[in-house]
Each structure stands twice: as C-alpha cells, then as structure tokens.
C-alpha cells in the first residue's frame, strides 16, 4: 500500500495495480474504514479498481499528518464488516435496444441467444463508479465475451445502454458518446434525484436478467441483501 498526494487537498492510496476482486475488496475495506474512522478530516472517499482517492480538509490537516493517521488505522483492517448486496438488473436484449448484439454474435461465432446467455449467467462486481455520474464499471466478463472497443465510437449512446468492452461490462446512465458494444438496454433509472444518486455502490454484485420488450417499462431492480 502506497499513499501519495493527489494535489494539496486529496490523496491517493495505491494497492497492487491489478484488476481483481481481492484487490478491489481491499479497496472497499479501506474505503469503509476511512469513511468511518476519519470522517472529521475527509471530504470524500472514492474507490476505484485498485486505488482509493480521499479528499481531506487541508485547511486543518497536513498531508503528512493524515498519512500517519491512515497508517495507524491499519491494525483495524479486518474489523470492517462486509456489506454485500446483490442486485438483479433487468435488461432487454431485443431489437433496437440491442444494436450491437448481432455484430458481437457474428464476431464471436455464436448466436445472439448464446451471447445473452453468457452475459446473464455470471455475477459481476461493481468495481467502481466514474467516467460519468453514475456509470458503473462491472467485471469481469467471461473469455467468450471479450471484445475490443468499437473502431468508431457512437456519438450518442442512449441512457440505459448495456455495453461490453475488454473484460468489462457497464451501463451508460445518460446520453453520451461511447465506444462499447451495446448489447442491451435497461429501463431502470440510473441517476436519481434522491439523496442516494445511484442504485449501485462500489462492491455490489450484479446479475443481469433478460426481459421482453413488452415488459420494458414495468421492470425494476431486485435487491437480495
């Protein structure tokens, strides 16, 4: 674990620089620990794949002082309770909701049904949120679904689009340019006017389940806590 300044009002905690559940689990443990123990000093605690960004009140505490506090937390590392949530997210993999399903199937020499089966048969971890407000980075997809990004990014990906790229799958929360292969769309709102702006949290487990286009408007996320 390495603690570096990220400007004068935030710091970066780097873990082993690789994408896997074990390292991301450590990131989440530290995020929870810091949120709980250092709330008086911090402005935000923001997990990524294998790093953690912590904003702090530099008016009141120097970098070296908060770094020492962080290292002193280490003894408590394993006292943090895990907060596992499982979310089942409806996705329509049909017609206009799935503009790239056909090309992905062709690329992978499989039927569209098999691609849907592969995408829905596996749990994904929410490694982080970022890129856009509420964008979830989910991983990892199975080897059979690994794809390079599209050569030509789409200028306006519709909100709710479910994409795959590399080992990742993700959901576009709002209209934006994007280069992922769009294999489906979820009807659930992904940016909320609530005090909790996203249905997802880093560390969640997500399953996708297929819905028919006729059920599109009435489907919602199911939570198994």
């Amino acid at each position: 674990m390495e603690i570096l300044p990220l400007g004068d009002s935030a710091l970066l905690i780097n873990f082993q620089q690789e994408i896997n559940e074990e390292v991301n689990g450590q990131v989440m443990q530290w995020a929870n620990l810091i949120s709980r123990e250092l709330a008086d000093h911090t402005t935000f605690v923001s997990p990524a794949y294998c790093s953690l960004t912590v904003g702090y009140k530099s008016m009141h505490i120097h970098f070296e002082a908060i770094r020492s506090l962080l290292f002193s937390l280490k003894v408590n590392e394993f006292t943090v309770a895990k907060q596992d949530r499982i979310l089942r997210v409806p996705v329509c993999y049909q017609g206009a909701y799935a503009p790239d399903l056909g090309s992905v199937a062709k690329m992978k020499d499989r039927s569209p049904e098999e691609i849907v089966e592969l995408h829905t048969s596996k749990p994904y971890r929410v490694y982080m949120l970022g890129f856009l407000p509420g964008f979830v980075y989910l991983g990892k997809v199975g080897e059979e679904l690994y794809t390079e990004r599209k050569d030509l990014p789409l200028t306006a990906v519709p909100a709710g689009s479910v994409g795959i790229a590399g080992w990742q799958t993700g959901i576009y929360p709002s209209v934006t340019p994007g280069g992922w292969h769009l294999i489906g769309r979820t009807p659930v709102p992904l940016l909320l006017r609530d005090s909790h702006p996203s249905p997802f949290r880093a560390g969640d487990t997500v399953y996708f389940y297929p819905i028919d286009s006729s059920q599109f408007s009435e489907s919602s996320i199911q939570y198994d806590v």
Binding site: G7, G55, S58, G130, F131, P133, V175, S198
Partner: protein
C-alpha cells in the same frame, strides 16, 4: 419576491454554489464556481452565506431585467457591467429597483464574472447543491443553465447593508506562473519532458470548458505507461494519447485512465478558472507543503477580510 428575468442568456451562464463534494465516489463531479474566492466575495457583499448560489457568467454576459427591488454584487471578470446603461463597479453591492436592467459589454479582464443576489434563491437542488449538473441537467438541476426567457426567484433578505471590498484582485497577478505539484505518475514521463513542460509557454485551447482545459504547446505529455483507471480531482494535469495536456477543472470526471502528470495548487486554481481560450500560461513546480501553506494563508486572509468587515 425579487425576480431575475433573462432577456438574453449570455454565452454560458450557470448557477453555481459549493458543489457536491461528498459524491465523488458515485462519479459525480465536485462542481462549484471555477473561481471560488470570487463567488464567496460576491455572496459576502450581499450578506449571503458564502456558499449560496451565484450566477457564473462566462466571457459574454446576459441581459437581466429585475422585477422587484433587491441587492446584487459582481466579482471576478470585468465584463463592463452596467445598470440602465450606467457602468457599475465590481466588488461592491448595488441596490436595484423594479424594471432595472443589468447588461454586460466588452470583456476587460478574466473570463468568469459572479453575480450574487441577496436572499434565498428559489432554485432546484440536487444532492444539496444548485450547481448545474454536468449530465442530465434538465432532469437533475432544471433551470441551472440559463436560457433566454428564464426567470429566477430570490426571496430577498432584509439585510441591505451597503458593502465594498478592497480586494487585491487575483486577476492582477494573472501573468505569474501557475504552481503545480508532482502528480502520482510524473515519474513515468521522461525527465526531458518534465523539464520542457515547465520551461515552455502554453496556451489555453478552444476546446476548453468547465470540465477541463486543453493546452496548446510544443510539449507532448506522452508516456508509454499504461495505467488502470483511478481517481482525479480538479487541477490534475493529464497526459493524453496524443500528448496534448488536459487540466481538469470544476466539472471534471472523477476518474480517468490518463497518467496524472501534476496537479495545480489550490491557491492558483481560481486564477486558472479566470483563463480563456488563447491565454498564455506558464507553470512552476511547487512542493506539497508549500502549496498547502499558501492555500491556508489564502483561506485565512479571505476569512479575516470578510469577517472583520462584516461586523
């Protein structure tokens, strides 16, 4: 009630307040004014809380008609503001009456002017902030990006103390170098690139906005280092695939995969926020201890100035 009616919206006029500092982990930009100190001063001049909403007016100002009587103040960029065609000063409060019109003219200095209005703004808030959301704006913060014909209501405060600040304007040292701390990946760049970056003239590119500034210069901030997406904050200077440096600003995304070369010291971020396309910028290395000390000094000076005179 006191109403602002926008007869013209200006180039880019948005509501800004303290921003959404706690939601970085949901990918939500911190937001808030590009020049925080100026926004605070504007609010102080009209006896508001310092993190109340203000209008951030960019380069070309709106045309506003006031319905009712109230108190306003302007700070930051000088865009030749006038009330009923009579020039008005920055950094002082002004009383306006029913039917008065606030207009702007030529940009004289800076890029962003802040308009504060004394009282309680009746505007949409998302996650505790009135700042214009960087995506899904119409859903999340309707009305926060000013369009022609918009109206904003402010419940005016009873306090109408006339105030002025003798402010040593940040714009006066606009030509001083912007101080930059090393970023987590600075050591992934060749030493010669680091040296060139700090020795060169850079210009703010046309492709610059509240999310970030691209820099035009001869320096290519390029490295072969492949990094895994990680957190970013306003002020971070990224190297991109093409080598064109990007400085992340108030509405920047919260994570990115570009190497973080450096980070602009908070004490200089407001000055950065007052830059516009075509402006020359030079950079100077600063250590984190020095940057933190300068920032604290700036905040303490602001507090002294605004509290002592507020009594």
């Amino acid at each position: 009630m006191f109403e602002l009616e926008f007869l013209k919206p200006g180039l880019y006029t948005s509501l800004q307040d303290g921003g959404r500092t706690k939601f970085h982990g949901f990918g939500i930009p911190l937001g808030g004014p590009m020049d925080r100190a100026s926004a605070k001063r504007a609010n102080w001049l009209v006896s508001n809380s310092l993190s109340d909403p203000v209008l951030e007016i960019t380069v070309m100002g709106p045309r506003i008609e006031f319905n009712g009587a109230g108190q306003i103040a302007l700070t930051g960029a000088d865009i030749s503001a006038k009330i009923n065609n009579v020039p008005i000063g920055l950094n002082e409060s002004h009383q306006v009456r029913q039917g008065d019109q606030l207009t702007f003219g030529r940009l004289q200095s800076g890029a962003r002017c802040y308009l504060a209005v004394g009282g309680d703004w009746q505007v949409a808030r998302w996650l505790g902030s009135a700042s214009a959301a960087s995506s899904e704006l119409d859903l999340l913060t309707p009305g926060a990006l000013i369009q022609k014909g918009d109206r904003i209501l402010v419940k005016p405060s009873d306090l109408r103390e006339k105030k002025a600040l003798e402010w040593n304007n940040v714009l006066s040292d606009q030509n001083a170098p912007i101080r930059v701390m090393p970023g987590p990946e600075m050591d992934k760049f060749y030493k010669s690139i680091v040296a060139d970056f700090f020795a060169s003239d850079h210009y703010i590119s046309n492709q610059s906005n509240r999310m970030g500034y691209r820099l035009d210069s001869d320096v290519k901030l390029k490295t072969d280092f492949e990094m895994i997406s990680s957190g970013t904050v306003p002020g971070i200077i990224q190297g991109t695939n093409s080598g064109q440096p990007i400085i992340l600003m108030a509405d920047a995304q919260t994570a990115g995969g570009y190497p973080r070369f450096g980070c602009v010291a908070s004490v200089d971020l407001d000055r950065m926020g007052q830059m516009k396309p075509g402006d020359l910028v030079r950079f100077e290395l600063i250590a984190i201890d020095a940057a933190q000390a300068l920032y604290r000094e700036q905040l303490e000076m602001e507090a002294t100035l605004m509290h002592s005179r507020a009594d």
